[in-house]
């Protein structure tokens, strides 16, 4: 056990139980999984990606590259979870990953032996012989060996939410700079959000052994948190990671609402996605302690000096029985001293520098820490660190230690400044990249901006908090920054210990070593992006937070270009990995998109309808009756009943647009290929509209209710698109036209009654209106009432080819109308039908629908070229006259029937001349829609065929190899039933 006897922000009065790889351990509230593992003496936690080297806990934060575990089990298993960010809870279970058969004895650790082969770019140079082996042998092996943790493969049982927030000042990070910024902005009255990825506010102040305004830093944190929590204009968001900066001062964040408990509480999501729109943002995300490259720098027990100090001070944990620290900078020294002060036995402080600030030396002396200046760690030993070898000049010395804190300097955590294209700039004086240009409205305060001393952080935070609030319109009095002593921040740039021996790692998780950087250099992969891609440096789950700096410094040394000229790779969202589920929120499975029921949905359910998704709508597909063996039998019955007597269907899903104003007629003439200004009041007309490129956009009927009042219908699929198009025409193309549009799709339920007896049915519904052929002829429209006073619009239209009416009533009356129709039609055996029968009826009539209006066909292709008026211009007219549109070879809309009528047509079959090879060159068109016609007793189809109209009676092959079909069909007129259209006019 390495729990220190005192100290730490943990609740020692309470004990939490957890397991790792099945072994039970205990920790305390306030622990992370990492601190609890260390407290239990567990140092070997994972295996690396390529060589399966033993790895431990390297950091104390979200940048952890090594300590990845599978957290939880079953459907809640979370692979690749950083133990350093997991808040310990009672009952937690975690497993190590990427090892077999066990973490202690991992078979693939043999990869280390062949590491001389496995340098950067190895894969690209090999596995090519013999050619067939890649997919069968090599790749499956590589795939199994690669990857990190394993997914549960079960649906995620938890819920997620999304939310929006707006504020004047968003402060990201709650260390010294962040707290100071939040305080000064909040005191001005601005709406402030303080987001902190940790479960505790305070950042480094929880670790550092410093005083603010004369009191311990932790007291400052507690007071600041209390003041902010009490202010109504402040929202504190712990456990919230700002992971992306986006356009419009928008910041995307994940709030981990329930990750710190075993299972989310009732009615609580696991996580919540926030999109925060902030007038100003202050980035106060601090800096990471970065590693130094030296042989064996990856052994469990080696960690950042910052982590060593944090485990000691914040968690009361010694990372080992004893430790050493290896650094090149004052913060590393301070960390060593802080750890010592907290009770860690630090055997030696090894600094590459020859001289250290005297104040630090004095502190070290007072604490009894041995200081080795001008020293380097050149080797380490142990599956779990047992010793290090230190070189001072020509002398080497081996020290037995279980932990080694390393600090190569501070790397500002500036990820978010890059998301809108900002490029970091290198500062020689602090040996670090600092933010270059930042997103609009953002400023950086504290260590992220290269301000490493505590006093600087507090000052910068206070000033920028006030400035941001002022920019957002809140002029508060400038308050003094909290006071703290200047902390030492000296550094000597130092990246790599030059020593032979074990691999010296740059990127721990991806096993990229200094040697790999050398290979990339030799082979010309010298630009940072190429270096990254060739070696995979920086592509691990820490996204290069630990590795990029040293990697590019090594490359800069090899090229002699210098670090500034070498540059750094670009950071992109997310700042840390984000659960995919939270990005979907509520919209998953059946709630992926809204489900739109029709006005008669409940009625159709009662009739036993089978429903089908039609866009967002759910429509009745058919109405099976007991004893029917399949859908076809039901549909055949529905078709027959409609053709012979009467059928009924809800067609409310069609788009319906109300057009009012003196210029509607003119307007419609310009959007339809045919004329509408000449339409008589009380009449409807079928119209086709094109896109400007001359292809058909949509079709439908439009009726004239009054001189200045029309009602248009669109197809279900294009309702929104057509409305948008009409508004475009009115507002952009012809703003001089006085036309007002309203969608009335939802206002009216519309029910089609079709068949020879439909007039008899209608007559029973209307409140006395004359519905005779004379009074309400084909394409006539009546505005009247039905069922004793219900307002109704009756359109005498026919999609089925039969005598038919579409009756529209206010949507709440839809179900009542349907029931009344069924009652009125009972004597005639009225039969409800769905989209399947609708399809059969229209295919029998040769009417086009979505399969033909596929956006690739012109009016001429559809056999409607003659509908186009030559007396006017309309959208699409000019471009529909292009040569290819008039090419006689162009596939034209015709009908098809099987030569052997026992055979079945299938949509999607292509047409070939008889006797030719099935090749793309010989492709002559395709079948768009097919149906079994109960009226004709065989399969029929519609489609497009080259020179189709000239080939009526010809036999062609309908070639459908994907369904194993290849049959002879005869080209025919698309109007299979009642080609003269007499039935609809009776």
């Amino acid at each position: 056990m390495t729990r220190l006897s005192t100290g730490g922000l943990i609740d020692r009065s309470r004990t939490l139980s957890f397991t790792f790889d099945g072994v039970a351990y205990k920790g305390h509230p306030g622990d992370t999984l990492a601190s609890a593992l260390l407290a239990n003496g567990v140092r070997l936690v994972g295996r690396s990606f390529k060589y399966h080297r033993p790895r431990g806990i390297f950091t104390c934060g979200s940048e952890e590259p090594n300590a990845l575990v599978e957290l939880r089990a079953g459907a809640r298993k979370e692979p690749n979870t950083r133990a350093t960010t997991v808040e310990l809870f009672d009952g937690l279970s975690a497993q190590s990953q990427n090892r077999w058969p066990s973490l202690e004895h991992d078979a693939l650790s043999v990869n280390q032996l062949v590491s001389p082969f496995l340098g950067a770019g190895f894969y690209y140079k090999t596995f090519m012989w013999p050619a067939s082996f890649w997919e069968k042998v090599y790749e499956p092996f590589i795939r199994r060996a690669a990857g990190l943790g394993a997914a549960s493969e079960l649906p995620d049982p938890d819920t997620y939410e999304k939310a929006f927030a707006f504020c004047d000042v968003l402060v990201i990070g709650s260390g010294a700079a962040g707290l100071a910024a939040a305080l000064s902005a909040a005191r001005s009255g601005a709406r402030v959000i303080l987001a902190e990825e940790d479960f505790r506010f305070g950042g480094r102040l929880l670790t550092e052994d410093v005083a603010i305004d004369g009191a311990p830093a932790r007291d400052f944190v507690a007071h600041a948190e209390a003041e902010l929590a009490a202010l109504p204009n402040v929202r504190l968001m712990p456990r919230t990671t700002v992971f992306g900066a986006y356009d419009g001062s928008e910041y995307a964040c994940v709030e981990r609402v329930s990750d710190h408990v075993a299972v989310p509480a009732a009615f609580q999501p696991r996580q919540r996605l926030w999109r925060i729109i902030a007038k100003r943002a202050i980035l106060a995300t601090g800096a990471f302690d970065r590693p130094i490259v030296f042989p064996g720098n990856d052994r469990p027990g080696v960690m950042t000096a910052q982590a060593l100090a944090t485990y000691a001070r914040r968690f009361g944990v010694g990372a080992g029985a004893n430790a050493a620290v290896f650094t090149n900078n004052d913060a590393g020294v301070s960390a060593a001293l802080a750890a010592t002060h907290a009770g860690v036995k630090v055997e030696a402080l090894i600094d590459v520098r020859e001289a250290l600030p005297s104040a630090l030396l004095a502190k070290a002396k007072a604490l009894g820490v041995r200081v080795i200046t001008g020293g380097e760690v050149i080797a380490t030993k142990g599956k779990r660190l047992s010793s290090i070898t230190v070189r001072t000049g020509s002398r080497t010395e081996t020290l037995a230690v279980e932990a080694l804190g390393i600090s190569g300097g501070a790397t500002p955590n500036l990820n978010l400044t890059c998301h809108l294209g900002g490029k970091p700039v290198y500062r020689e004086d602090i040996a670090a990249f600092v933010p270059g240009s930042v997103p609009p409205g953002m400023s950086c305060a504290g260590a992220v901006a290269g301000q490493f001393s505590l006093a600087e952080c507090l000052k910068a935070g206070t000033e920028q908090g006030a400035t941001a609030a002022r920019d957002a319109g809140f002029a508060g009095a400038a308050l003094p920054a909290p006071k703290a002593e200047e902390t030492a921040t000296g550094i000597r740039a130092f990246w790599q210990v030059k020593a032979k021996g074990d691999l010296a790692f740059v990127d721990f998780q991806n096993d990229v070593s200094a040697k790999d950087v050398g290979i990339a250099h030799k082979e010309g992969f010298r630009a940072v992006e190429l270096l990254k891609r060739y070696t995979t440096m920086g592509m691990a789950t820490d996204q290069g937070k630990n590795s990029n700096m040293a990697g590019l410094a090594l490359m800069a040394e090899l090229t002699g270009q210098g670090i500034a000229a070498t540059g750094t790779t670009v950071f992109r969202p997310p700042y840390t990995p984000v659960a995919l589920g939270v990005l979907a929120g509520h919209h998953r499975e059946k709630d992926f998109r809204p489900t739109r029921p029709t006005p008669t949905h409940a009625w159709a359910e009662k009739q036993g309808a089978v429903f089908v998704e039609t866009g967002f709508w759910l429509r009745a597909a058919y109405f099976p009756k007991p004893g029917e063996k399949d859908w076809l039998e039901s549909v055949n019955r529905e078709v027959k009943a409609t053709r012979e007597s009467c059928g009924v269907i809800d067609v409310s899903t069609f788009g319906k647009i109300d057009l009012q104003g003196p210029d509607v007629g003119t307007f419609l003439d310009r959007v339809y290929i045919n004329m509408f200004s000449t339409l008589q009041v009380g009449k409807a007309r079928y119209g086709v509209m094109l896109r400007e490129d001359g292809l058909v956009m949509d079709d439908g009927t439009t009726a004239r209710l009054a001189d200045n009042h029309y009602v248009m219908t669109t197809t279900t699929a294009n309702a929104g698109k057509v409305f948008q198009h009409l508004e475009y025409c009115l507002q952009v193309l012809w703003p001089e036209l006085d036309v007002q549009l309203s969608s009335i799709s939802e206002q009216w339920a519309q029910i089609a009654v079709s068949g020879p007896r439909s007039r008899d049915v209608l007559a029973k519904l209307v409140d006395g209106a004359d519905v005779s052929n004379a009074a309400l002829p084909f394409m006539g429209v009546a505005q009247t009432t039905v069922l004793g006073g219900i307002e109704a619009r009756i359109f005498r239209l026919s999609f089925s080819g039969e005598l038919g009416y579409e009756i529209a009533v206010p949507a709440r009356q839809g179900e009542r109308l349907m029931e009344a129709i069924m009652e009125a039609g009972k004597p005639f055996g009225i039969t409800p039908y769905g989209t399947e029968t609708l399809g059969v009826l229209r295919i029998e009539k040769g009417h086009v629908s979505g399969s033909e209006l596929n956006g690739q066909t012109s009016a001429r292709d559809l056999g409607m070229g003659r509908m186009a008026s030559t007396k006017k211009d309309y959208i699409g007219r000019v471009l529909s006259q292009r040569p290819a549109f008039l090419d006689p070879e162009r596939p034209i809309f015709v009908g098809f029937k099987p030569v052997d009528t026992a055979q079945r047509l299938r949509a999607g079959a292509h047409f070939l001349k008889v006797g030719v090879e099935p090749t793309t060159h010989n492709d002559e068109g395709y079948l768009t829609s097919v149906a079994y016609s109960p009226t004709l007793g065989h399969s029929i189809g519609l489609g497009f065929l080259k020179r189709g109209l000239e080939r009526i009676g010809e036999q062609v092959r309908a070639y459908d190899p994907v369904r194993g079909s290849d049959i002879l069909v005869e080209v025919c007129s698309p109007a299979f039933v009642d080609p003269e259209g007499e039935k609809q006019r009776v």
């Binding site: 990606f49 997919e135 929120g585 998704e613």
Partner: protein
């Protein structure tokens, strides 16, 4: 020059501490003149240079790249290769590309990790099945191979898909088993190395800033590294095409848009091949390294910013969670944005002209990666022969004038809908 890779070279380098490797391609300096200048050191430009040298013996070729090779879309895509197109003008071209993929690694002596693990386009309605049957049959006609799967077969292959609680039920799929993925960067490096070995100059950090004109003809380019003349100047710069053609007072049938793509943390093998959702904007595959590589729709507005916004991120993952609710606890590691050259009908342009001495390769929309080999091959042919090959015969610039448009989706002249 980079030596041929073999067992021997690998072993000798293992023994000498990996010190024997040579640059994969020379870092060439521009010469005053070339027979052909290819602007753009992405996959298409480098492949064009390779095939010009290999197939047409034209080796006095420079590839000019404003940054480093592969820094545009070649390194920012989702690595999918497939030949499952619908239209007769498209499908034979993509099938030729697939055939070139199948021999690419032996041809280049470079392992681009071509992995033919298949693609399934999921079907969610009867109408969609018909549309996919039409496509599958078109693929068969072009010799590409395709299979129409029923729902049960899809379930056996991908039991993790949401079959039981789906907003849009899965009713089957169209599969091309030869489709799959390739390691995108390796394709760039393989072509660069191959072209270099045949004598092509690859010139990085050389941005074209203008064109040299002679009597209307294009006879060279101005660059940040000086003027370079050439008998033929070929553009293969994807989303930057309009930026260059502006110097020639040409307006192109193109808009530059942003397409975001995503990769998860590495995982043990989870999904086979490539899967596309038919009712949302989501497609996914798993890389050799274990990351789920996925994407969806373009952001939908003109952009040169190489980054997108949250609504599309959410839209993609809503599709992902609708289709594969097992991915909820897996994590997004990285997202990025590519600058895509959306054409007005969603199909590419590989053509001679429109000015003498100028050759165009553009309009790849969000699908240029899979086309890389055939694009290079056909563009090389077109440059060398001054006419299109049959494979790219439909990819003419004047098709918008004549009406021979190639609109696979049927959405018309609005690039953000393709």
């Amino acid at each position: 020059m980079s030596a041929r890779y073999s067992f021997l070279s690998l072993i000798s380098n293992a023994l000498n501490g990996q010190t024997g490797w040579k640059p994969a391609w020379r870092d060439a300096h521009p010469k005053p003149t070339y027979d052909v200048i290819i602007v753009g050191g992405g996959g298409h430009g480098l492949a064009t240079a390779y095939y010009l040298a290999k197939e047409h013996g034209i080796r006095n070729v420079a590839v000019l790249e404003k940054g480093h090779i592969g820094s545009g879309n070649a390194g920012r895509n989702t690595t999918i290769i497939r030949s499952n197109y619908l239209l007769p003008g498209n499908e034979p071209f993509y099938e030729w590309s697939m055939k070139l993929w199948e021999g690419l690694e032996q041809d280049l002596n470079y392992n681009a990790m071509v992995s033919q693990r298949g693609i399934i386009n999921l079907i969610h309605s009867d109408a969609q099945r018909d549309a996919y049957a039409r496509r599958g049959n078109a693929m068969r006609l072009a010799g590409a191979g395709s299979e129409l799967l029923d729902a049960e077969t899809v379930r056996k292959m991908c039991p993790f898909l949401n079959f039981d609680n789906a907003r849009f039920p899965i009713k089957g799929g169209l599969m091309q088993s030869r489709a799959g993925t390739a390691r995108h960067d390796a394709v760039v490096w393989g072509y660069a190395r191959g072209a270099d070995r045949l004598g092509v100059d690859i010139i990085q950090n050389c941005e074209v800033t203008g064109f040299i004109r002679d009597n209307g003809a294009v006879v060279g380019v101005e660059t940040t590294r000086g003027a370079i003349r050439a008998g033929k100047v070929a553009l293969a710069v994807a989303g930057s095409t309009s930026r260059l053609t502006r110097h020639l007072d040409l307006r192109m049938p193109l808009e530059s848009h942003v397409l975001q793509a995503f990769v998860s943390e590495g995982l043990k093998p989870l999904i086979p091949g490539v899967i596309t959702f038919g009712m949302g904007h989501f497609y996914v595959s798993q890389s050799d390294k274990g990351g789920l590589v996925f994407g969806g729709d373009i952001d939908g507005y003109n952009s040169y910013a190489q980054r997108g916004n949250m609504p599309v991120v959410e839209d993609v993952l809503e599709g992902g969670m609708a289709l594969m609710p097992m991915i909820g606890r897996l994590r997004l590691l990285r997202s990025w944005g590519g600058l895509v050259d959306m054409s007005m009908d969603g199909s590419p342009i590989i053509d001679v002209g429109p000015l003498p001495g100028l050759y165009l390769n553009t309009g790849w929309n969000y699908g240029g990666f899979k086309a890389t080999p055939a694009s290079g091959w056909c563009f090389a042919y077109t440059i060398a022969q001054d006419r299109a090959h049959d494979f790219n015969g439909a990819f003419r610039l004047d098709r918008f004038r004549t009406g021979n448009i190639l609109d696979e989706k049927g959405v018309g002249a609005q690039p953000n809908l393709h």
